[in-house]
Symmetry: C2
Subunit: 392 residues, 2 copies
């Protein structure tokens, strides 16, 4: 019974964050480690109302098996919003509703990755994607992030030396770095994707949470063959587990088969509740409320960093989303910092696990969406003290 586990599981990393959260979940710990949206922003009462309406009017249908592709009116809504926000034409038929956008990663990996296919990912990159895609045994390559998005020179170099099958990236307020691809990076990335025949999985869970500047179009606007993921987890609530994937038809056909094999279809009660909620409320207004909270908390964190951290430390200044990224002096290892910080009851995620091919030992991710301004000030002050002590 020893070798009963399939080989593909050998290289799947156990989520380091998951392990960390076990240590940092205690009430007395100020945690910047998790990636949770603020529960105070959840529209609990409105969801309750939507739930009541759905079950009173369409109860039997909401509780029955449903179509693999997802609830059609919800797919129409998503399609309409792409048009409204970005002038982007994506038919409802080209949208598959998934069990959170994490499942979209699983399905895309299943449908696209042969063992040993080369998959390019940002450094630092989203851990959940590294985990989901690694199940299908790719060889990861890493392209570093610059202040205005993925390093295009690096991208070109890697693609000219390697047969890269697909690139996974998060152009808006990236997890973990908070970095946003500029318009020019998007445009030029699209040209490079085309040139090298690389498929792009564009993950956009945070795009609507922009608190500074103008919204930029998805890379999908420039590169029609791309795969684009979305999620309601950060703009409504993650417990509903509702995300989506949009892809060219040849890929969509396989995605639907993979989805059916994976779980038949996404929770139909949740889909109808969400749709009812979206019909009876103003999503834009709700998102503005979330943005107000996150922008303030982000400002507080940046001010605290500038006050309490030594000047030698760099940080990103996100235009939206939930995270910022800190680069420590080279000699400081963020795992050591974590071990010292947790003794002061403050937590974060060390940066190394976000690099699929190693590196980043002096970096760390800080979440600002799920701590109150007071906690943020206090936590950053404590962290600053620990850092200064270690640098002495």
């Amino acid at each position: 019974m020893k070798n009963i586990i399939a080989e593909r599981m050998d290289k799947v990393p156990e989520s380091f964050i998951r392990e960390i959260l076990k240590v940092t979940d205690a009430a007395h710990v100020i945690s910047f480690a998790g990636g949770l949206p603020s529960p105070d922003t959840f529209p609990v009462r409105e969801i309750a109302k939507a739930c009541e309406t759905v079950l009173a009017t369409d109860g039997q249908k909401a509780l029955q098996y449903a179509s693999t592709e997802g609830y059609f009116p919800l797919r129409q809504y998503i399609s309409g919003r792409y048009m409204e926000k970005h002038g982007l034409k994506i038919k409802p038929e080209d949208i598959l509703i998934t069990t959170g956008s994490q499942q979209a990663l699983d399905l895309a990996g299943k449908v696209l990755i042969n063992p040993k296919d080369k998959v390019l990912i940002e450094g630092p990159g989203y851990l959940g994607a590294i985990q989901a895609l690694s199940v299908f045994s790719p060889v990861f390559k890493t392209v570093l992030m610059k202040d205005d998005g993925v390093d295009l020179e690096g991208f070109k170099k890697i693609c000219s030396k390697n047969a890269i099958k697909l690139f996974y990236g998060v152009p808006n307020f990236q997890n973990p770095s908070g970095i946003t691809y500029s318009g020019s990076v998007r445009n030029n990335l699209a040209l490079l994707l085309e040139k090298y025949g690389v498929q792009f999985i564009e993950d956009d869970p945070y795009g609507e949470l922009r608190f500074i500047g103008e919204a930029l179009s998805p890379v999908k606007s420039y590169y029609k063959n791309g795969i684009l993921l979305g999620s309601f987890s950060k703009v409504v609530a993650p417990g509903l587990r509702l995300g989506w994937i949009t892809a060219p038809q040849n890929i969509m056909k396989s995605l639907v088969i993979a989805k059916q094999a994976a779980d038949l279809h996404t929770n139909s009660l949740s889909q109808r509740i969400l749709y009812r909620y979206l019909m009876d409320n103003n999503e834009d207004k709700h998102i503005q409320d979330i943005i107000k909270v996150y922008k303030y908390q982000c400002d507080v964190m940046i001010k605290a960093i500038e006050e309490y951290f030594p000047d030698s430390i760099r940080h990103t200044s996100p235009e939206g989303g939930m995270f910022l990224w800190v680069t420590l002096p080279k000699k400081l290892n963020s795992r050591d910092l974590f071990n010292n910080a947790i003794k002061q009851n403050v937590a974060f995620v060390p940066g190394a696990p976000f690099y699929a091919n190693g590196g980043g030992e002096n970096t760390m991710r800080l979440n600002f969406s799920n701590s109150s301004p007071d906690k943020i000030k206090e936590g950053i002050a404590r962290l600053g003290k620990v850092i200064k002590k270690m640098l002495k």
Copy 2:
């Protein structure tokens, strides 16, 4: 872009049922093709009440990210029910909540099957399992079903000639045949699994829907290393997408990692609603209500078959569940029958796709859970006419 789809998808069958349902979904068709529970049995009002309570008392938690393993009280409930119904000791920690039991198949396949591993499946066997497991590129072998369960002689023969890694089966009111493994078959199967070192995925979505005779213990009672799946889809409602998998610890560890990679965690709102429903209502009483309906519909179908079908046709007499199985004279192909029957606006699923290695061209599956007694009588009468005409 032509070869962009990964090879593993080549052998995943598109669900034939799915294709059939497109033809048979029209209101004027009497369909025995689907596998839907009767929506009239869904506890819509009670679910609405549970929903209201959950959102009023625990709204933020129900809408937040939650643990990969599932809602602990729900896992305790399942554990308690195994003990109560079968004296079977399964710790809550050994139960992982999944997005329907279909997802349990995806996770088990992911974690256990290396490409070319030999997987044994019943003939006829559950299509959803053939589909889910085929994603991981096994070689299927088929062991035929007899009236009292899987053919143990056949099982022995196959296992002595092949290194079978795992066996998938549905011991209670099997989908598609309606057959139940006898106590002696369970016992002896456990011995053979042990002897040949075969892992068993025991799928039990219908076990509680027994309308004749005494409940039999799962094979897991005899074979502790087995994997046992369960589901709330047939006893509460499928739209909640809630199932579970229980497995030995070494396998569970990998299942949890695979689950996290697949969709982070199962819908937390659904889990809490279901748990509230189970606490505030009597599950046993509700199941008795379902059984009454299904038993009656099954009786009506069997009587109609005996009245309207030629004597040369054999059928199973299920002790529970949702399906029965019809074997036509050898010369009659059930696909041809389907084509003729649909012209009379009556539908079923031809049996061949349920055989992973071919065969069963003269068999068919009939669902009795989702048609009213009148429709059942009328539909079987029409089918009988078509069959008699074809046999002339």
